[in-house]
């Protein structure tokens, strides 16, 4: 159970009655329905780093476009399950006035960059090494998904990429 939340601890003593499967990281997000924000909220004024180590704010990285932001980590298997979908979404969104941004949380920049390259992540990547943005947004889960409107305000906050997040993103792009 701890393993399902990001810890490799395989519960169950004595083995193997419990905890026989080795789960390395969240395979399901934490329980509870993802919540859309009631009203658009302004992003905290926190600076991230891009993979070339330049300081950049999340709304600036969106460049005035609607953005779907995915918080991930190299050790998060549930995050890895979304990479293919996010790559596809990035390609589709670029035709519709949107952008997909990945934010690696709690990771050194070079480690995130190496991982993104090996896994073939085609969308914009930023790094929140000290979890400053995640803490300011109150985001504790992995994976976590945000949707920003063209004004850089948060209009949706959820867990894994799902139909609700996609609907919010389509809505933000259409406005």
């Amino acid at each position: 159970m701890l393993a399902a939340s990001g810890c490799t601890t395989v519960v169950g003593s004595p083995p193997p009655i419990l905890g026989s499967a080795r789960e390395r990281s969240p395979t399901v997000p934490l329980g509870g329905e993802p919540a859309a924000t009631a009203a658009p909220t302004v992003l905290p004024a926190v600076s991230l780093r891009d993979l070339d180590d330049h300081a950049v704010r999340l709304d600036a990285a969106a460049g005035g476009k609607a953005a779907l932001v995915s918080f991930w980590a190299t050790w998060c298997d549930a995050c890895a399950e979304e990479f293919g979908a996010l790559n596809r979404l990035a390609a589709q969104a670029s035709r519709g006035g949107g952008v997909v941004i990945g934010v690696a949380v709690g990771e050194p920049r070079d480690k995130a960059a190496d991982f993104a390259r090996r896994r073939g992540l085609t969308y914009v990547q930023l790094v929140d090494e000290n979890l400053e943005l995640a803490d300011a947004l109150g985001q504790k889960r992995l994976p976590a998904t945000l949707v920003l409107d063209r004004q850089g305000r948060v209009v949706f906050s959820g867990a894994a990429l799902d139909e609700k997040a996609l609907a919010a993103f389509r809505g933000a792009m259409a406005r």
Partner: protein
């Protein structure tokens, strides 16, 4: 004072303390941190001790001393 501390510890333990949010479990996710890396290795360690020490078992594992196991 000691009684109050014990009660507080028990209360915290029973409710579960949210000490580590999910996005801060990078080190905990490393396979090196798992108490049991895999069940097959756990079994072979368990077998080594349960068939050679009379004090094995008692934790859901039977055998230990005189079990006829090798």
């Amino acid at each position: 004072m000691k009684k109050a501390l014990l009660v507080a510890l028990l209360a915290a333990g029973s409710a579960g303390c949210v000490i580590v949010p999910q996005n801060r479990r990078a080190r905990l996710a490393d396979p090196m941190m798992a108490f049991t890396q895999d069940a097959l290795e756990a079994h072979r360690k368990q077998k080594l001790y349960s068939t050679r020490e009379g004090a094995a078992g008692g934790d859901g594992i039977t055998a230990g001393g005189g079990c006829a196991c090798q």
